[in-house]
């Protein structure tokens, strides 16, 4: 499960390009200036999820998820606590923060934001690694972080690549996580693909 320094560097590079694209897309749509950053990432197995997601505790979270098939089947989620999600929507749409509840308007807005971020990252990944993916339609839900990841239906052995994601909207920071879930085989294949890219770059 442990990533080599090279793998981490490459993944970071890929994700930075991906969120860059996402930010460009968001800025095209919105009046607010958005920048996205991926300051850290880690990998763990699904069975360690409770420990690894301890910062979320029992907080209700919001997640936009898309599953994909093709070269390395898996799911990606953009995950954040409801309060952060509400703030993010308010910052992006320049509206007051009302109640810390997500109505369907805010949910669909978040779904679009999540969709843009996921598409930015996955599109970059597919391009750089020269891979083909088939995607499902984006889905979104509210629950604890644990349940949100669990409902994607992966085994306890599955691997998770968790990328901490910072949304910076007009100097206000909202934090979330981009989670990439794959069964072990896919995970290894992805890492091999990354190693190949590294070799190609060298």
């Amino acid at each position: 499960m442990k990533l080599t320094d090279n793998q981490v560097d490459t993944l970071k590079e890929l994700f930075n390009v991906g969120v860059g694209r996402a930010a460009a897309s968001l800025n095209e749509m919105l009046e607010s200036k958005v920048t996205l950053a991926v300051p850290s990432m880690k990998t763990f197995q699904f069975k360690d999820i409770t420990e690894e997601l301890s910062k979320y505790g029992d907080k209700t979270c919001f997640a936009v998820s898309q599953s994909f098939s093709g070269a390395f089947p898996g799911s990606v989620l953009l995950l954040m606590p409801i309060e952060s999600a509400v703030k993010l929507v308010a910052y992006l749409t320049n509206e007051e923060i009302g109640s810390f509840e997500l109505d369907s308007v805010k949910s669909s807005t978040l779904a679009e934001i999540g969709n843009i971020v996921i598409n930015g990252i996955m599109g970059t990944l597919a391009n750089m690694l020269k891979l083909q993916f088939e995607y499902s339609i984006p889905d979104y839900a509210e629950d604890t972080a644990f349940e949100l990841l669990k409902r994607e239906g992966f085994s306890y052995e599955a691997g998770i690549l968790m990328v901490n994601t910072h949304f910076n909207v007009s100097e206000r920071l909202v934090e979330g996580d981009f989670a990439y879930l794959m069964e072990m085989g896919s995970f290894d294949s992805l890492m091999n693909a990354i190693d190949l890219v590294n070799k190609g770059l060298e």
Binding site: S25, M29, V89, L92, V105, E112, N115, G123
Partner: protein
């Protein structure tokens, strides 16, 4: 062209399933040409399939050319993941503007699909969802939920009210008794048992007459019964008898209980034990009677006084008439004027005595006792008579011990001693001696004796009575008001003391005033045991009782536990662990029961700031450590004599 039309027909068939759904659905090819437009969209937009299918979507919806849409849709044509367009971010039902303003919440999912016919790559499927209805239902549900919660709370409150009501009856400070129509008791509450002594079991089934004392007439009971059976409320008072035979007064409120049809089914009696109130009324009546008697006495007194006041006035008026006639010898004029002045003096003395009397008689005498130095007090009493005595050749000798302490109202006792001295001067002549001493037997008494004319044995008993007004001319012809000695007696009695007269006619008199005394309680508050010991040994010469506390907390605990604060002086250390002396001082001076206690602060800190704050906080004095008797004792004597 024809082929193309058939292509489109094929597309239309392929997607026709979307005509059945409540979603807006349309399909574009990579040229943005509309391949399908479903029935729901026809409804939403008013654009018929036949019109838009085959046309470029930009012709009808130019928004599609905007980069934010164009780029993301082009990505989809190139195999990118599906995209979502939300109405909030785009301000519209992307990319359509809908005529129906009530549709509020919309979302468009755009995904790529491969045509069944294969052909040239992807089509893009737009699926538009109107979730206004869902949102409305969600908000309906939310408000319904809130209403249910509110109603539940209301019901709970109502149930609480009922519980409270039954508790009110159960725990009513009044006795509650419910009877049926025949007067048989069906319910009594615990207070009923408390008052009457009859338990619930004993009372049930019995008639209320078990409480009858015979005080109330049968006629009265008949009237009560008639009132309540007629459906009216009856209020009244009974002298009742308890189970143990003792009697009590109750005030009863008896009301009929009616059913829905208005028929009386029960009677409920709410009864208060008013025995105490009756007693209080009795006391009040007695007090009123006493006051009336007192008024009668006062009237009699005023009649006497006005007679005495008129006397001297007539005298002065007579002198003035003589002077008015004129032609008198200058020597005689001088005599007359002297007489007139003297008469005026008499009258003003009388007025002064009456005023004093009024002050004291106006209310009961309530001495404000303090510890005072007896010698200072007697000196003050003698002061106004020294000159008079000197003129008559009478010597006044004050032999009251220098450090004798009394626990009295100083102002009132000055009045007492002053009166006695004034009397002694009046009935003494040249060469006589007036002596003020304390009795050998009683340490805290004052004796005023003289070697004057003395009093006849028969008159001694009447001297102290107001009504007798026994005034006798003095050795120099001084007249008196006759109020002096009765006043002396009143004041002394009010102090709980006694006044006694010993006199031998022709040899002189001695008035013994003995007043109750107690030793002052000194409260030493200091955390250091050594300091407390030093203070105790210094205080030994002062003849006081000492109580001690080793901390501020202990001191306040003891003060608050005492009744009527028998602490006469508090010696308080400032620097103590825990609660400081300042804290204690603040609390004492802010507590109405304690604030009269004089406080002397003990401090090692002699700075101006400390002094100022000590006095500002209400302390009476302070002493600086190291403690010295010659500094401490005089300061304490100033306060407790």
């Amino acid at each position: 062209m024809k082929k193309r039309d058939s292509d489109i027909e094929g597309e239309l068939r392929e997607f026709s399933a979307f005509d059945q759904v409540a979603l807006g659905v349309f399909v574009l090819d990579h040229d943005f040409k509309v391949l399908f437009w479903n029935r729901t969209l026809e409804e939403w937009t008013g654009l018929n399939k036949g019109k838009i299918v085959g046309a470029n979507v930009n012709e009808y919806f130019p928004e599609f050319k905007k980069p934010q849409y164009l780029h993301r849709i082009e990505d989809i044509f190139n195999g990118a993941p599906p995209a979502i367009f939300s109405s909030q971010l785009h301000g519209k039902f992307m990319p359509l503007s809908l005529p129906n303003k009530t549709t509020r919440v919309k979302q468009v999912t755009v995904s790529s699909v491969k045509t069944a016919a294969g052909g040239d790559g992807y089509r893009v499927l737009f699926v538009m969802q109107d979730v206004s209805e869902l949102t409305r239902r969600a908000s309906d549900y939310r408000s319904m939920h809130e209403r249910v919660v509110k109603e539940l709370a209301l019901r709970e409150e109502a149930e609480g009210e009922i519980r409270k009501l039954s508790r009110v009856v159960e725990q009513n400070p009044a006795a509650v008794m419910i009877t049926d129509l025949t007067g048989s008791i069906e319910y009594v509450n615990p207070e009923f048992t408390e008052i009457t002594g009859y338990s619930y079991e004993e009372a049930i089934g019995k008639p209320p007459s078990i409480l009858k004392s015979g005080h109330t007439t049968d006629e009265e009971y008949k009237k009560l019964w008639e009132t309540i059976t007629a459906g009216e409320i009856w209020d009244g008072e009974f002298l009742n008898v308890k189970k143990d035979g003792s009697r009590y007064w109750e005030s009863a409120h008896i009301a009929p209980v009616k059913d829905d049809s208005g028929a009386v089914t029960h009677f409920v009696a709410v009864k208060l034990d008013i025995t105490e109130r009756k007693k209080a009324e009795e006391v009040l009546r007695a007090a009123r009677e006493e006051a009336e008697n007192a008024t009668a006495a006062k009237d009699k007194f005023v009649a006497l006084v006005s007679h005495d006041m008129k006397g001297p006035l007539h005298v002065v008026r007579g002198y003035l008439e003589i002077l008015e006639e004129g032609g008198l010898d200058p020597k005689l004029i001088k005599d007359i004027l002297q007489e007139a002045v003297s008469t005026c003096d008499d009258m003003s003395r009388l007025i002064e005595d009456i005023l004093n009397l009024n002050r004291i008689k106006g209310g009961e005498i309530r001495p404000k006792r303090n510890f005072i130095c007896a010698w200072d007090m007697t000196e003050e009493s003698i002061k106004s008579y020294r000159l008079l005595a000197k003129n008559k050749g009478v010597d006044i000798i004050n032999e009251v011990p220098r450090y004798m302490r009394m626990h009295v109202d100083k102002e009132l006792i000055v009045e007492v001693v002053g009166n006695l001295v004034s009397n002694a001067v009046k009935f003494s002549g040249k060469g006589d001696v007036i002596r003020l001493t304390s009795s050998d037997k009683d340490d805290h008494s004052i004796v005023v004796s003289d070697t004057g004319v003395g009093i006849e044995a028969g008159r001694i008993d009447t001297l102290f009575k107001y009504e007798e007004k026994t005034s006798t001319y003095g050795t120099a012809g001084e007249s008196g008001t006759g109020f002096g000695l009765p006043l002396v007696k009143d004041i002394v009695v009010a102090h709980g003391g006694k006044v006694r007269l010993e006199s031998t006619y022709g040899e002189g008199s001695a008035f013994y005033v003995s007043l109750p005394y107690r030793r002052p309680n000194m409260f030493i508050v200091d955390d250091s045991e050594i300091i407390r010991e030093i203070l105790k040994s210094l205080l030994e010469e002062m003849d006081v009782d000492v109580i001690e506390a080793a901390s501020g907390e202990e001191a306040l605990g003891r003060l608050e536990g005492m009744e009527e604060s028998p602490v006469d002086l508090m010696l308080l250390d400032i620097n103590m662990p825990g609660m400081s002396g300042f804290d204690v001082l603040k609390r004492v001076k802010n507590t109405s029961e304690l604030k009269e206690i004089p406080v002397v602060i003990i401090t090692g800190d002699d700075t101006t700031e400390t002094r100022e704050s000590i006095f500002r906080m209400g302390a009476d004095d302070f002493v600086v450590k190291p403690l010295k008797g010659e500094d401490l004792i005089p300061r304490l004597r100033r306060i407790i004599g």
